[in-house]
């Protein structure tokens, strides 16, 4: 069965400092991995994805994530946090097409708070 774990309910970081939001996953076969962001009173927006290829993927707003197959992790990172990055971040996983899946499962979310 697919599952996603986001071990931190909240991450606090000072503006200008690097940030990391952690995600580990479980899925049969090769994973498709995603990060989404939800700003207050807004819907969810796509940030970035890993399907295949380079383990380091870059996405919107300066975010990037590193796929680590041996650790089954897909941590979200940004070199320099902004106050406007404060939001709720979700990691998601689905099975690859050749294993027949397109069901996308989300983690519980991590609230990022960036202090000025």
């Amino acid at each position: 069965a697919q599952s996603v774990a986001q071990p931190e309910d909240q991450v606090n970081v000072a503006e200008g400092n690097p940030l990391t939001v952690k995600c580990t996953y479980s899925v049969s076969g090769n994973p498709y991995l995603f990060w989404y962001v939800q700003y207050p009173n807004r819907g969810l927006q796509f940030l970035l994805k890993y399907i295949t290829g380079d383990n380091l993927v870059k996405g919107s707003y300066g975010f990037e994530a590193e796929f680590n197959k041996s650790q089954t992790s897909f941590h979200l990172k940004k070199p320099s946090a902004l106050v406007s990055d404060s939001a709720l971040y979700f990691c998601a996983v689905r099975a690859s097409r050749n294993t027949g899946g397109f069901k996308t499962i989300f983690g519980a979310g991590t609230r990022l708070f960036v202090k000025a």
Binding site: Q6, Y32, F34, Y36, R42, G43, L44, Q45, F46, K49, I51, F90, A92, R94, R97, F102, K103, T104, I105, F106, G107, A108, G109
Partner: protein
């Protein structure tokens, strides 16, 4: 306008009543999903659909029914609402393409906030 729309945005109902949440997308995406968002649980998948007349259960499907007679519509029905179904419901759609930036990405509606008294 192109996009994915949910209605109603807000709904208050009573225990035992039937409620239908509507979802309409204009992209002709094959895949559609219903999630509920609850504090501490994140987003949990209720039902998903690969195409018209093809639906499947997600993680928390008990008490919910879906249909997909047309590609663009994916209504979610609570047959007899319970207080535990008080939540924010999100519909999403996705297209599985051979490649490209939009492949496999879920696009979400604005959400429907349901309160069951």
């Amino acid at each position: 306008d192109a996009g994915i729309t949910q209605s109603p945005r807000y709904k208050i109902t009573e225990t035992g009543r039937q409620v239908t949440l509507m979802c309409h997308q204009t992209w002709s995406h094959s895949y559609m999903f219903w999630y509920r968002q609850d504090l501490g649980h994140g987003l949990r998948l209720i039902y998903y659909s690969a195409a018209a007349d093809i639906t499947d259960k997600g993680e928390v499907s008990d008490g919910y029914v879906v249909s997909r007679s047309k590609t663009e519509n994916f209504p979610l029905t609570l047959e007899s609402a319970t207080r535990s179904q008080t939540s924010v419901y999100f519909c999403a759609s996705s297209e599985v393409l051979a490649g490209g930036p939009g492949a496999n990405v879920l696009t979400f509606g604005a959400g429907s906030r349901l309160t069951v008294l």
